[in-house]
Amino acid sequence: MADDEIILSELSDDELVLQMHDDLYDGLKEEIEEGVNILIERGWTPYDVLTKALVAGMTIVGADFRDGILFVPEVLLAANAMKAGMQILKPLLVETGAPRMGKMVIGTVKGDIHDIGKNLVAMMMEGAGFEVVDLGINNAVEKYLEALEKEQPDILGMSALLTTTMPYMKVVIDTLKEKGMREDYVVLVGGAPLNEEFGKAIGADAYCRDAAVAVETAKQFVARKHNQLGA
């Protein structure tokens, strides 16, 4: 054993959380799993472990990705580590309960098989307390509609990586309008070739440039909706 090796179980809670942020940043899956288990054993609520250790750590990863300090491979490794931690927490969260922010149906549009960004958004939304129904890749408008009717979410998220597939988002939104369903959902769109103008042009509520923005935007829209209902 190297002299400078960090023994997670010997760290104080604060030190351990900071160390987990570092481990998440470095994509160290096993260390994250160990850290999660230690905090749970110390009596932390699963929700606190999720938000203070995992989500907060992943938020740093997201910010550094946005600033060009981290790149996709590093973000994927971090996401894998977070996913491993969340797998431990998920059943515990169900048992102990956690604040529910709202519900989202998300999927990559028809003709597009790219799901890295979509998966990151889904994971961060879950981390933020949203229930996420992930439709996967290559979704035709019928599949979105079916899921919306069945799940009755607050938010519909659509993702596309290709300039050739991103126009399909408009097909989905236009269909929602035709069926008089558009106002029932907040529609968030994202994907590498999209931009804010495109989001506006197709009639989405917002374009989200990354997972962190998606979470913040979703929270704002859901809060607004609740305020309207409460008014």
């Binding site: 994509g27 790149f71 996709v72 491979p73 590093e74 994927l76 490794l77 894998n80 003709g111 597009d112 098989i113 790219h114 799901d115 890295i116 890749i137 290559n138 290709l162 300039t163 050739t164 597939t165 991103m166 590498a192 070739p193 999209l194 931009n195 495109f198």
Partner: protein
Amino acid sequence: MDDLTLSETGLAPQRAGRILLIACGALAHEILALKAANGWTHIDLQCLPANLHLWPDRIPPAVEAAVDEARGRYETVFVVYADCGTGGLLQEKCRELGVEMVAGPHCYSFFEGNAVFAEHADSEFDAFYLTDFLVRQFDAFVWRPMGLDRHPQLRDMYFGNYRKLVYQAQRDDPALDLKARDCAARLGLEYERRFTGYGDLAVTLAEVAR
């Protein structure tokens, strides 16, 4: 003219001829082959670094700088890029600059022919395409930027939803065929070689050359 230079530096124009093509470095060999085959001595070629594709948002400003630099030196400036992941921003920039560009979403499309490529888009959206240049530069443009040299475990996160690798061959080259087959194996994908020649690129440039 080696691929590394075309990837990282590009190719400076000769400042000769009345038409300037401002192209992606990944197309240099093909454009020079067409130029030689057709005797287009009135066409000059400038290539921007092919690795701009790793950051598509950098393509429009790079093209703008090159067009500005070329103004007054040529009768016509033509941009040999497709949309290339810029989400329409390159088209918008070209319109603003008053120059034309190649039609299509990307080079995989125009090499095969935009119409043909669009026809099978529905059945082949799970294909990963490589051109001659990208086969030669697979490590520099795919393997390393995706971090697969350092983190091979990420391969299926990137390529798990793909079914096959289609090598669109611009030229008949058995060595490239072998290399492309190896690329497919490294990505865990089925392999298909499809000879495209220069496709719409040849047609478009012939029109520009008139």
